[in-house]
């Protein structure tokens, strides 16, 4: 079997009984987290813009739980949903893979299925997650370094896999869906720091739904798109760094190993370890923001690569500005959604600190992979952050694993708190939100998730 055969067979032929309970259990938290983050998305500028786009597509008669107009085609529903899910850069992530969960949840919930049990959601999510991760692993880091945004380019494969599974496509149709989604794979890192970055997540979800529904309707495509010259791996990553990753579909299940990172801070993942470091130093040593004279960050090679803004003009750019997020963390003693408004980024106290941040990459901070060939900006190696204060004191700490990562997971209370904040930001009712969260934590027992979410329709 070639690579495409193996992926298609995995999607179609994996029996439900072969998906372990540990894997579906592990999917519950990221799915609940994602639904919260999608609902929060309309509070951001990107969320507002994508909603304005959706409203302009035709007459609006009713709205879905995401806030999107009802009656739009499923692929457009997925587009809106996952753009919202990534609008605040608050959705979960997996190193080297991107942000699969928002894409998968959006694709799954956008499909025109009358009833969809929690168990079906979990199964399709785990299958889609697995395909997303192993295709990303096969491409390898080379793909990202060329300028592609992996969330966008690879996310479509995961979404297509989940959609093919739920629509019960056969092997040929599934192969074609992979062929079609490969011809939709786009997304440039140059759009980071603009609303088009969250749009990438929406596009990936859309692409998966579109490809699966086109294949279901009889559209043919290359039956072996991952293989050979001018195939997806060839064009997007010179055949890929690790095509053998496809042999590891389901072994282990990526949702268990390495497992997702749920984000504690609503900004670029590459900033999370330095944020943890400054907050740790601040708490440990009682440092007041105004007493700081210098903040030095030694980052692993490539660790600063996505952080392309140094003087952010918008809240969104601030998410990709190391100087800003560290300064905001020190001033607020936390990093929350409110830190990324266009006014928050101009706080004088924060701006003073920003000028004191000095960051540079150091291969010694990535000893296992000094040239960053195999690991991403947010993981691999470690950060060393040093703060010097006006009294001449200098303190320093090293952070290897960010908060929310599998080595340092968020607590149940952290997750419930994040869900509550997200629904508040998205203008949803708090009491209903608490009930929804409780039901989502028992997702495997939900008879129909659409019925569960229907009550969250926002007003038009």
């Amino acid at each position: 079997m070639n690579l495409t055969d193996r992926v298609a067979a995995f999607i179609v032929d994996t029996p439900r009984s072969a998906v372990p309970k540990e894997a579906t259990d592990a999917a519950v938290r990221p799915i609940a987290d994602t639904i919260g983050v999608i609902m929060a998305g309309s509070s951001g500028d990107a969320g507002k813009s994508v909603m304005a786009y959706a409203d302009a597509l035709g007459p609006v008669a009713g709205r879905t739980w995401t806030g999107s107009p009802a009656g739009l085609s499923p692929d457009t529903q997925a587009l809106i949903s996952s753009t919202l899910g990534h609008a605040l850069d608050y959705d979960d992530e997996l190193a080297g893979v991107g942000h699969p969960s928002s894409i998968l949840v959006s694709a799954i919930l956008a499909l025109p299925l009358a009833e969809l049990s929690g168990d079906q959601v979990l199964e399709a999510f785990v299958i889609g997650y697995e395909v997303n991760v192993k295709v990303a692993n096969a491409l390898g880091h080379r793909h990202y370094r060329k300028g592609w945004h992996t969330t966008a380019t690879v996310g479509g494969f995961g979404a297509a896999a989940a959609a093919c599974r739920l629509l019960h496509l056969d092997l040929d149709q599934t192969r074609y869906a992979l062929g079609i989604v490969a011809s939709l794979a786009g997304g440039l890192q140059r759009n980071f720091g603009t609303m088009t970055k969250p749009l990438h997540s929406g596009l990936a979800a859309r692409n998966g739904v579109l490809a699966a529904q086109l294949a279901q309707s009889g559209f043919t495509a290359s039956a072996d798109i991952l293989d050979g010259g001018r195939g997806f791996f060839d064009v997007y990553a010179d055949q890929g760094d690790h095509p053998e990753a496809i042999d590891r579909l389901g072994a282990p299940w990526a949702i268990l190993d390495p497992g997702p990172t749920l984000k504690k801070y609503p900004c670029c993942y590459a900033t999370h370890r330095p944020i943890d470091a400054v907050l740790q130093l601040q708490a440990r040593h009682g440092i007041e923001a105004d007493s700081i004279e210098k903040i030095t960050v030694r980052a692993p090679t490539f660790g600063l690569h996505p952080l392309i803004y140094h003087d952010p003009k918008t809240g969104l750019q601030g998410k990709f500005c190391l100087e800003y997020v560290l300064s905001a963390a020190l001033v607020g003693k936390q990093v929350v959604l409110d830190d990324f408004s266009d006014t928050a980024i101009n706080r004088p106290q924060v701006r003073r600190l920003m000028a004191l941040v000095e960051a540079k990459e150091d291969p010694a901070c990535r000893p296992e992979d000094p040239e960053a060939k195999n690991s991403s900006a947010g993981t691999g190696g470690f950060h060393i952050v040093t703060i010097r204060t006006a009294d001449g004191g200098e303190v320093s700490t090293k952070v290897q694993y960010p908060s929310g990562s599998p080595y340092h997971p968020l607590s149940d209370a952290d997750i419930a708190e994040k869900f509550r904040d997200c629904l508040a930001a998205g203008g949803r009712d708090a009491a209903a939100g608490a009930r929804l969260f409780a039901q989502l934590t028992e997702l495997q027992d939900v008879p129909d998730i659409h019925a569960l979410l229907a009550g969250f329709t926002v007003r038009g």
């Binding site: 597509l57 692929d75 939709l184 440039l188 759009n191 749009l199 495509a221 195939g231």
Partner: protein
């Protein structure tokens, strides 16, 4: 160096170009009319059946609505209309081509006519089309030919910029919105040649039209994006040009219109352009020497390097594959005396005599047939160099050399050819012959038309073609 993106943005927003430029107006009108024809013909393709099933699935509420000129329900969302129109227009591989820049015209037409703007005056369509065509040509030039050699389908990856420009023009976006439109569409640019010979190839055309419409509508709705996406590190050219981006792509922007110079190639045959010169040579030899198909014992073609790359199906099994098969194109041309839509039906492909002729075909690429660019690095295989064709019969061997494909600027379709093609296309798409004859002269005076949709809607099919399954149920 003024940034490429900024120059294209200025160009996209410049005052209307077509008024007062007769050559440009004529060229744009001809390209638009040709594109309308092939969209109509698309209704007769197998792809159209699948497209109907798809639309029936994703927009069930629209199923009861009357159709518009494309034969699909009026009132679909603009992005879906663009997808449908663009896919239909490339379904038969009969739409025009600009060497190195894909198949722009159907995509531009699809984008410009799908937007929710109420009236669309002919003059605005012409402006949007001319600007979109030019942006398409310039981005293609900038990205260079290595892009195609790497495996991208330029029709998908580059024509989306043209569609975005046309859409931005129709929507009258501001310069900053246009810059963002390009930023967004760059993140939508995709399409692999490996999908040639499948239904996904025409989808690429629909994807490109839809990408342009989406990007422009999103920018209008307030979506931001990088505002110099073609330039610099990790920009569109840096990622997609494979290191071969051309710096002089906009040197004469606004002074030379690609629609006029070099001009587009309107297709004479509904199949891959790479087959044309060999087919032309064969037909010329048959006519000159009175050779019947049954007399042919051998057909040989010596081709410039790169010609056979996209022609992936030596023994095609269906109409999509047949359009990318040199042996089949030659066999069918020998039998039919030309290549028309009816040469590519399943019944035509199954002809035993076609099977016999395919076994007589010998193909070879030779660097000597592309002396100006032996490696094929800089030019499209349909246009560079020349093709040598020889036919063997019991009487001996005759041969000829063909430099320019039929329909190219050097051998353009005559007015009569173009009229015949439009009417053939309308008939293949199930349209009434009298209506098509009546509409054609109106379309030919496009600049005077108050609302293009009024005329297009006269081409709405009055009945559904027999083989168009409407039930919306997936094919198992």
């Amino acid at each position: 160096m003024t940034a490429l993106t900024a120059q294209l943005v200025d160009f996209t927003c410049a005052p209307p170009p077509v008024a007062g430029d007769d050559a440009l107006g004529e060229a744009a009108t001809a390209a638009i009319v040709d594109s309308i024809g092939v969209v109509l013909a698309g209704a007769g393709s197998e792809v159209s059946d699948a497209l109907h099933r798809y639309v029936g699935t994703v927009a069930p509420a629209a199923a009861q609505e009357p159709s518009d000129w494309t034969g699909f329900q009026a009132g679909l969302a603009p992005d879906l209309t663009a997808l449908v129109t663009g896919t239909l227009g490339h379904a038969l591989d009969f739409d025009d081509a600009l060497p190195g820049a894909g198949h722009p015209s159907v995509i531009l037409l699809s984008a410009a006519t799908s937007l929710p703007v109420g009236q669309l005056p002919g003059s605005l369509l012409l402006d949007a089309f001319a600007v979109g065509f030019e942006v398409n040509a310039r981005v293609a030039k900038a990205v260079g030919h290595k892009h195609y050699l790497h495996g991208w389908h330029t029709t998908a990856t580059v024509c989306c910029f043209g569609a975005a420009a046309a859409a931005a023009r129709v929507l009258r976006l501001s310069p900053v919105q246009v810059a963002r439109t390009y930023g967004i569409v760059a993140s939508l640019a995709a399409g692999l040649q490996r999908n040639f010979g499948t239904f996904t190839k025409p989808l690429h055309s629909g994807f490109a039209a839809r990408a342009g419409v989406m990007a422009a509508l999103m920018a209008e709705a307030g979506m931001t994006a990088d505002e110099s996406i073609l330039d610099g590190d990790r920009g569109f050219l840096a990622v997609y040009a494979q290191g071969a981006q051309q710096g002089d792509a906009v040197a004469d922007l606004g002074r030379r219109w690609s629609l006029v110079q070099p001009g587009t190639t309107q297709k004479k045959y509904p199949c891959a352009l790479e087959t044309y010169r060999a087919v032309d040579g064969l037909l010329e030899l048959q006519a000159r020497h009175g050779i019947a198909a049954a007399d042919i014992a051998g057909i040989s073609a010596v081709l410039p390097p790169g010609t056979l790359g996209p022609l992936r199906y030596p023994r095609p099994r269906d109409e999509m594959q047949a359009k990318f098969s040199m042996p089949y194109a030659l066999a069918a041309a020998a039998l039919d005396g030309t290549l028309s839509n009816s040469s590519f039906t399943p019944a035509a492909i199954a002809r035993p005599e076609a099977a016999r002729l395919m076994t007589c075909v010998q193909l070879r690429e030779d660097v000597a047939n592309r002396p100006e660019d032996p490696s094929g690095r800089n030019s499209s295989a349909s246009f560079g160099g020349f093709v040598d064709v020889a036919v063997t019969t019991a009487a001996g061997i005759v041969s000829t050399r063909v430099h320019h494909p039929a329909g190219s600027p050097q051998r353009p379709l005559s007015a009569a050819d173009r009229t015949a093609k439009f009417l053939d296309c309308a008939a293949f798409g199930g349209r009434d012959a009298d209506v098509a004859s009546d509409v054609l002269p109106q379309l030919s005076r496009l600049s005077e038309v108050p609302d293009v949709h009024d005329i297009l809607n006269r081409l709405t099919p009055t009945h559904v073609l027999d083989h168009c399954a409407q039930e919306g149920s997936p094919r198992s």
